[in-house]
């Protein structure tokens, strides 16, 4: 028996990387998963085909598209019981050099976009009197990072959003938690390697050197954490940020 048997889950930004890993793991645990990403391309179709999920393409920065996407999912699968806010945009550029519209795009997706998704799923969760919202932040949420001011602002904003909504919604049986993953093996690392002018293997080794566990994360590490926070036991973690990061950051935020 799976840990999420029959549960209806929506994961945003799930066509690749960590989101894809979450979808596969949740489906493995028996969940019925709606797979969101910005477009209905081959990657999204590939994930859906692999685990028999429901395609839910939408740009979460578009509130109209978000409402339509959530109502499509609920019409097909039923009320969403677990929402994973995973989609994210990231650009790396010095704050003073970054065009404001590019800076704000990250806020529009990562923070405002997820507030719209949460707003759209809450009415049904409230009617059910239960729900789980797992917000994906980042190692860089608590720490900040140079040349990532927009991205890190959203990721620490999500930690505070999770804390506030955790307090606000727990009395209704809706439990909100945050996961702040460490450096994880996703397509983003190829981007990092290209930026640094090194190979993928070199960037893996560079990152692993700073991680007490001696390795970078794999999407499965994060996916298993998300599954745990989707179960009944998440009730104990009201508004908490959980950090699978190999020990790189140990502060609580």
């Amino acid at each position: 028996m799976g840990k999420l048997d029959g549960m209806v889950c929506l994961v945003t930004g799930a066509a690749q990387g960590m989101g894809r890993g979450m979808v596969l793991r949740m489906a493995h645990e028996g969940a019925r998963v709606a797979v969101n990403d910005v477009s209905d391309d081959d990657r999204l179709k590939g994930v859906v085909g692999e685990m028999g999920g429901f395609p839910a393409p939408a740009n979460i920065a578009d509130p109209v598209a978000v409402r339509r996407m959530v109502s499509d999912v609920e019409a097909s699968l039923g009320p969403i019981e677990v929402l994973v806010c995973n989609a994210a945009r990231m650009t790396m550029m010095p704050f003073l050099e970054e065009p404001p519209e590019q800076w704000w795009e990250q806020i529009d997706v990562n923070l405002t976009g997820h507030m719209d998704v949460i707003t759209a799923v809450l009415p049904h969760m409230r009617r059910l009197g239960r729900g789980r919202i797992v917000i994906i932040s980042s190692l860089w949420g608590p720490t900040g990072w140079e040349n990532a001011s927009g991205y890190t602002a959203t990721k620490s904003g999500l930690i505070s959003l999770g804390r506030a909504l955790g307090r606000e919604l727990a009395p209704e049986g809706i439990y909100v938690t945050v996961v702040a993953p460490g450096i994880t093996d996703t397509p983003q690392l190829q981007v990092d390697a290209d930026d640094a002018g090194v190979t993928l293997e070199e960037i893996h080794a560079t990152y692993a050197k700073n991680i007490p566990a001696g390795r970078i994360g794999i999407p499965e590490d994060i996916a298993r954490t998300v599954v745990f926070l989707s179960t009944e036991s998440a009730r104990a973690y009201v508004g908490q940020t959980i950090q699978p990061n190999g020990g790189e950051v140990r502060s609580s935020m």
Binding site: G182, A213, D221, I242, P244, G247
Partner: protein
């Protein structure tokens, strides 16, 4: 995942008479572990031993006996069970020393008794238990907060010393077991589930404090 699966199935729980520790022992047993329980006369486990956990020598000897009888220990859970409180300045030194030795001393002794063999084996999971009061700050609880709070810092530092040797050390800050409304209390089974999560699925957790306080501290 395969790298996170214990290759042996013996576990040790210290303070194995408290309500949370009992839930953890039961959960580990349900997951297939043989569990050594160290604590008072009412300790539980497949091998339950009455031990003064503030005594390093007794703790080491008990861990050796558990290893002999149940097998190499791949999971250690430290669950100090003593609450004592007084307004700051009003606890006599012996009471404070007993509180500190039970929490920090007992946790450190158990790690010293068990982790060297984990390091030799190249794997192991340690979960220390602390308290939500260590994070929250509660008037009248300065002594208890200090005694349990010291476990947070110990856990983080010790975790870094053994992480590259395959041993993962993390902490759960346990919330109030009774509260009003009752829904604001943490359930022992939720702590046991977290231990099981860290053992089975927590391979990328190192030096973390998981605050299972059901909202008592956010």
């Amino acid at each position: 995942m395969s790298t996170g699966e214990p290759s042996t199935r013996a576990a040790l729980v210290t303070g194995a008479s408290g309500v949370v520790a009992r839930a953890i022992v039961a959960r580990l047993q349900a997951d297939g572990f043989l569990v050594g329980g160290l604590g008072g006369e009412d300790a539980v486990g497949d091998l339950a031993l009455a031990v003064d956990l503030t005594d390093r020598g007794q703790t080491v000897a008990a861990a050796e006996r558990v290893t002999r009888e149940l097998g190499p220990i791949s999971v250690l859970v430290t669950a100090p069970a003593l609450h004592d409180a007084a307004p700051f300045g009003e606890m006599d030194p012996d009471r404070w020393k007993r509180l500190l030795m039970t929490h920090l001393g007992g946790s450190a002794n158990a790690c010293a008794a068990v982790v060297p063999a984990m390091v030799l084996a190249g794997h192991g999971t340690v979960v220390t238990l602390s308290s939500w009061m260590a994070l929250a700050g509660i008037p009248g609880e300065a002594y208890y907060a200090a005694a349990t709070g010291s476990i947070l810092a110990f856990t983080k530092s010790f975790a870094l010393e053994v992480a590259r040797k395959g041993v993962r050390v993390n902490c759960i800050a346990v919330g109030p077991l009774e509260a009003t409304p009752p829904n604001a209390a943490v359930r022992p089974a939720e702590i046991a589930d977290t231990v099981a999560f860290l053992v089975e699925d927590g391979d990328f957790f190192v030096g973390q404090v998981l605050c299972a306080a059901a909202g008592a501290v956010v």
